[in-house]
């Protein structure tokens, strides 16, 4: 097998653009999914009964169906309910919803893992619910959910490849298009794998550094 890197280098500007699209989808998707997932987890902990049940069903449906199908439904089915989105916003919305379902479960577990006594102590000292969530639950939960959240962020990075099927001009779409134009399938796929793996390695390292910084608290929670 002959690796023709020259062909790839000739397309570097396109690849760099696609790389930035992937990064945008990933970073914005993770932020969106974290925020939405957190709101879902809070609503499921403190909300009224009906929304709690609806959200549980939402989480189960999203977790129980393939991302690919969800994306097709959103992009091709959306217009039937008046939701016509361009590929990039559709992809971002899909990724956010998909990630939120998982993040909400991570956060729900995190909330439950905070010892109830820590919340009772806050209650006895007069902190109201918002203050308890902001000052006690969120910081304590953060260190508990960090490993699972980094893991989920990594999964979402790889899921951005699926966005190629609704023509989001991200790495997978652009590089495989270049590959097929230039008859360099293997090279392009190899390059793609390298890109994703490199990013995963970097984010894994960042995650471990964050965990190490927070580890001094963990003793007390064990």
């Amino acid at each position: 097998m002959n690796f023709d890197t020259g062909l790839i280098l000739a397309s570097l500007p396109e690849i760099m653009h696609a790389f930035s699209v992937t990064m945008l989808m990933w970073v914005a998707g993770v932020i969106g999914a974290t925020v939405l997932g957190f709101l879902v987890a809070v609503a499921r902990r403190y909300g009224p009964r009906l929304p709690r049940h609806l959200l549980r069903v939402f989480v189960e449906v999203i977790r129980g169906t393939p991302f690919l199908i969800q994306l097709f439904l959103l992009y091709y089915g959306g217009p039937f309910i008046g939701l016509s989105l361009d590929p990039v916003p559709a992809g971002l919305l899909g990724l956010t919803i998909y990630g939120a379902a998982y993040f909400s479960e991570i956060f729900r577990g995190g909330f439950e893992a905070v010892p109830p006594g820590h919340v009772e102590a806050a209650e006895c000292l007069g902190l109201n619910r918002q203050q308890t969530i902001r000052r006690i639950l969120i910081p304590e939960m953060t260190m508990l959910v960090l490993p699972a959240s980094v893991n989920m962020a990594i999964i979402l990075l790889k899921e951005t490849a699926v966005l190629s099927i609704i023509t989001v001009p991200e790495l997978t779409l652009v590089i495989s298009a270049i590959g097929s134009q230039q008859y360099a399938f293997v090279e392009s796929l190899f390059l793609l794998a390298l890109f994703y793996w490199g990013l995963v390695e970097i984010s894994g390292k960042l995650g471990r550094a964050a965990e190490a910084r927070l580890s001094r608290f963990r003793l007390a929670l064990a």
Binding site: H118, A121, C124, L125, G126, L127, Q131, F217, A220
Partner: protein
Amino acid sequence: MTVPAVSVKRLTKRFGQTEVLHEIDFDIPQGMVSCLIGPSGSGKSTLLRCMAFLEEATEGSILVNGQPLGFAEGPDGKLARLPAARIRAVRSQIGMVFQQFNLWPHMTALGNVSEALKTVQGIPRREAEERAMQQLKKVDLENRAGYYPSQLSGGQQQRVAIARALALEPKIMLFDEPTSSLDPELTGEVLNVMRALAADGMTMVVVSHEIGFAASVGQRLAFLDQGRLILNGTPQEIFAKPRHRRLDQFLDTYLDRGAAMLV
């Protein structure tokens, strides 16, 4: 006669079908140390948690310095939940210390003690930390102010927890088995802090297995068994012979376990 610090009136607590407390009636006098003793499952911790409003009574009521805690009788004679702000106002007179300390692990000792001053009372950080420091001095931990709970011994953590409760200047301090999760060597330092607090005239309610502490520092003792208040009086009255049969059995089990604290 002054109002009792806490007045418990016909308090019954059920968890589902299980009755944990049965029509408890008693008063906590002002400025004294009252100890609740009794075997495991007798309901003494639940009673204390009801006084902190961490558990809601199924029936009956609690008055703190004459003010209803949590629920008050409405015009129709039924108990109605008070507004959250009023519940907080009454609760602010009460400080609670837990068996498991329950310090917040992401804050230093100083952070734990100053947190409610900042968040609840809105005191500026610098002043809140100065006041927190004074409390840490009281429990002899000013040189550990910057330590996280995981860097402190159990006894030190419990002393920080006491300082945290004291920072809000409560009128009544509740202690739920404050030394039960400590090594015997570390219980002394916590009990000393509690003795000093008692000497200052703080109204205290202590649920404890430390019969020695209850007998020596407690000015009032209440003995609970199976959710009922069996005995209530001064230590002299309660430990005087002939003792109540159930109390004798309870004390015997202590001696059986080799505890020398009564000898």
